[in-house]
Amino acid sequence: MGSYIGMGQNDKQSRWGAYNGLGQNDKQSKWGHTLEWDKMISCQDGAIHWPGQNDKQSKWGHTLEWDKMISSCCGCCAALKPRYKRLVDNIFPVNPEDGLVKNNMDKLTFYALSAPEKLDRIGQYLAQRLSRDVQRHRYGMVVIAMDALDQLLVSCHDYSLNLFVESFLKMVQKLLECDDVELQILATSSFIKFANIEEVTPSYHRRYDFFISKFSSMCHSNNSDETCKARIRTAGLKGLQGVVRKTVSDDLQVNIWEAIHMDKIVPSLLYNMHDQGFVQVDLDNHRNEEAPAFVAETVFRDLVCRASFGNIKSVLKPVLVHIDNHQLWCQATLQFVVKCFKIIMFSVQQQYAYIVIQVLMTHLDSHVRSSPDIKSSIVDVLFECVLIAAGGSIGPSVLDVFNNLVRHLRISLDNKSTDVDKRTMEKKFEEAIISTIGEFANNLPDYQKIEIMMFIMAKFPQFTSEEEFGGKMDAQLQTMLLKTLLKVATKYKTVSMANAFPPEFLHPLLRMSLLDDPGMRIIVQQILHTLIDRNDNTPKFKHVVITKDISKLGLKLQKSARQDSLFMKKNGSEFYGCLLENMQMDSNKVDNFEALYCTMALICVEMGCTEILLELIRFALELQNIAINKLSLPLTHKCAIHALTSGFLNLLAQLAEVKSLATYVSGVIEIRRQEASHLLPDVAFNRANKPSSYPEVETLKDTWLFQQSQIAEILTELGHDVSRLSKPFTYRVFSSLLGGIDAEDSTLEKDEEERRRKEILQTFQTAPFEEIVARSESKSNHFHNKLNEILEMVSKHPDSPGSLRNTNKTTVPVFDIQFPELYVY
C-alpha cells in the first residue's frame, strides 16, 4: 500500500512542480482533487473506493487506474513523493480562507502518531512550505502551516520532538523576522503554545537568544498605531514568558538567569509595567488583561516566583538598574517602584525574601553619594519590603542590615548639608532609616530585638574611635540613634522583666540614661518606659501629680509576678542608683523630672510594689536626702525633687495598699500645701514659674519632710522588718559613685564638682562590667553566641563598628574576653 500511495503522490508532485509558477486556479483544482483522493485511500486502508467526484474523476481517473496498476509491481520508484509529504500537502485547503482541512489534518496527526520517526521530516517539509509561502506573501497558507505545526506539537509531545522542534522554531523565527505584525503575533502565539508543552526529551543545545532578543524588542514597540503597538508589546511579553517557562525548569536548557538574558527580559517587563500610556485606552476596554502593563506584571510575577536562591539576584539587579536608568527613584514615580518591590516581595519564594532586602541594602550603599531624596526613596522601598517580609524570613543577615542602615544614618549626619532644603531632604532620609530599622525590629522575635538594641547602643559615637580622632560627636546622630533605639523598644512586647532587661542590655542602657544631653536622657527614659510598661499606663504618669484616690486614674495593674519582684531585688539597686544620679543632673529640665517620675511610677506598678515596698521607700527617702543635702543643686531642682518624692510616695502608698502610710504621706503633703507649696508638684512642676514663685530663703522644716523614723514605725506595725530602712541607701553598682555625694560635696567648687562628676562617670562606666563578666562567665547564654555573631559580622565592615576596636586601648582587658566591642564605652 505504501508504494502505491507513493506512486500517486509522485504523479501529483510532478504536476505540482510543473504548475508551480502558474496561476492559483490551476493549482486549486488539483488540490481539491488530491484531497478527495487521499481521504479515500486512508479511510479504507487499502480497499479503494472512489468517492465519485464527477468533475474531477475524468481528469484523475486515469491516475488511479495507473496507480492501481503499478502498485502491484513495485515499491522501487525512488523519486516518488513520500507519503508524509502528501499528507502534509493535503492539509492545505484550496482557498486559504477555508483554513486547515480538518480531517486531513487528523490523518496527518494519526500518521505522525503511528510513525513518530517521520515527525522530523514532516516538520521539515512543513517548514519548507511555510518558508516559501512567507516569501510569496501567501499569509493565509502561512497561518495554516503554523496551525498544523502547533497541532502536531501538541499531539505528539509524548515523542522525542527534537528535530521537529528545530523546524518549528525555525518557522517561528522566520515569522518573527517578517515586517508583518500579524505574522509576528502569530509566531508568538505558536511559540507560547510550544512553551506550554512538556517535552519528554528536551534538547539541551537549543538556543533561545533570538527569541529573547526579538521578544524584548517587541516589548518596546513604538508602532504609530496604538492598538497595534499594544498588541505587539503584549505578544512580546507573552513570548518572553514562554521562553522563561520553557527554560526555567530544565537544567539542560539555556540558563535563562544569565545576565545577558535577564538584562533584556527584566527591563522589557518593567518598561511596560510602568508605561501608563495604555491605561486610558484600556479603561473602556473590556479585555483589559491583554493590556501590556497588565501582562507585563503577570509575567514579572511569574518570573520572580520561579527564581530560586541562586538567581533571585539576577532578577533584582536589572530591576535596580532599570529604576536607576529611568530615574524612577524620584517622588513622582516612587509609587511605581514600591509597587514593583511589593510584587517582588509577594512573589518571591518566602525563604528568599531576605535577599531582596539585602540587595536593596547593597543598592543603598551604591547610592551613598547620591542625593538624599534618592536615598530616602530606597529606604522607603526597603521599609515596604520589610513590612511584607514575614517574621522569620528576614534571614541571617539581620544584623548586617541594621549595621548598614545605621552606617548610612551616620554618613548622612557626618555630611550634613548647610543648604536648608537639602538638609530637609536629608532629615527625611534619616527619619526613613529610623522607621525602617524600627519596622525591621518589629519583624524579629523579641530576643533579637534586644540584641538589636544592644547593637545600636554599641554604635554610639562617643564609644567609637571617632571621638578620639577629634571629631566632636554629633549630637544629632546620638539623638537619631536613640530614636532608633526607642523605635525598636516600642516594638518589643515585654512579658517578663528578666527577659526584657538581661544584664548585658540593662547596664549599658542605664549608663546611657546619664548622657550629658537632657533631651537624649529623656529618650532613654522613654525607652525604659516602653520596656517596663506592659499595661499602657505610661500616659497616666506623664505628669507629676498628687492623686488623692489613685483608683480614679484608671490604672491597669499588673498582677504582681514573683519573678518581676525577684528581678527587682536583683537589679533594683541599679535602677535606683541610676535614677538618683539622674535626679542630680544640673541640666535637667521639667521634662526630665517628669520622665524620671514616670519611670519610677511604672516600676511601682509593674514590679509588684508590695514585694519591694521597703526598697522603694528607701529609694524615695534617699531622693529626699539628695534634695536636702545636695546644696549645689538649683532651688528649682530641689523643689522638683521634693515634689516628685511626695508624688511618688503618695502613689506608692496607695498602690501597695498600706493605708497608714498613705495617711501619713497625705498628712505631710497637707502640711506642705499650707506651708510650703513649692515642694509640691502643682508649684514645682509649673512650667510658668518665675523666680518669684519660689521662696527667697531656702528653709526646710522637719514637718515638711517625710521622716524615716515615722515611716519605719508605720511599717513595723505592719510587720515589716525595717532594720534596713535605717541603713544608708547603698546600691550595689552605683555605691562607689554615689557614696561621696553627701553634704561635703556642697563645699566643692562648681567645676571641681563637674570634674568629679566626670570622674564618677568614668568609674561608673567601668564598674558594672566586672559584674557583667562575672555573670556571663557563670552563665554563658545564647546571647553570648549571638553577640559574637554580631561582632563577627560587624568586623567585616570597614567603616562600621568594627572600628570600635580602636577604643579598646583604654579599657581593661578583661572585657575583651567577653565583650570585645559592645561594652567598651
Partner: protein, 203 residues
Amino acid sequence: MEDYKYLFKIVLIGDAGVGKTCLVRRFTQGLFPPGQAATIGVDFMIKTVEIDGERVKLQIWDTAGQEKFRSITQSYYRAANALILVYDVCSQATFDSLPQWISDIESFAKHKVLAYLVGNKIDQINSREVPSYIGKQWADRFEMRFLETSAKDAENVDILFYDIAMELTKDAREKDKLESDCTGFNISPNTKTINRCTACFKF
C-alpha cells in the same frame, strides 16, 4: 530549506538622534522616513543581500540612543557580528561621546568584533561640525572602519552594509573552511550538536 547561507547580526549604536534608525530604514526599506520617532529599547529589521552569489541574511538590531535604555541596549552587543557606531557630523557633542561608546563596546561586545565608525548626515554641508579627517583619524586609532553617510541622500548607506556583509562573509567562509578541514577527525555520534556549533551564525 535555508534560504540563506549565512546569518549575521549587526547592531547600531550611538547617541540619540544621530540617525541610526534612518540609516537602517534607508537600507532595508529604501526610504528616508519623515519625522522618524526616537527608538525605544531596541528595534529589529532584516535584510537579505547577495554576496558572491550567496544569500546572506543580515539581522539588524537598531538600539535606542537615549541614556535610559543603555542597559538593555548593551545586552545586545554581545551577539553582534558587527557593530556600527554612528555619530552626527553636524554635532560635535555626538562625536565627543564616542569614547564612552568605545568603552561600552569593549566591555559588552565580543572581542575583536567588526566595528564601523559612521559619521551621518553629510548632506547637511553647511552645518558640519566634525571634519572628515578627524573622524577618520579617530577610526584609525581604534582600528575601526570608517565611512561617512547620509541616510537622507542614500549616500554610502548600501556600501556600508554591503561592506560589512562582505567582510563577515569572508570571515565566515574562512571559518567554514577551517572547520571542514577539521571535521575529518571529528566522527562523533553527536554530529547534530557540532553542526549547531559550526553554524552558530545561523540561529
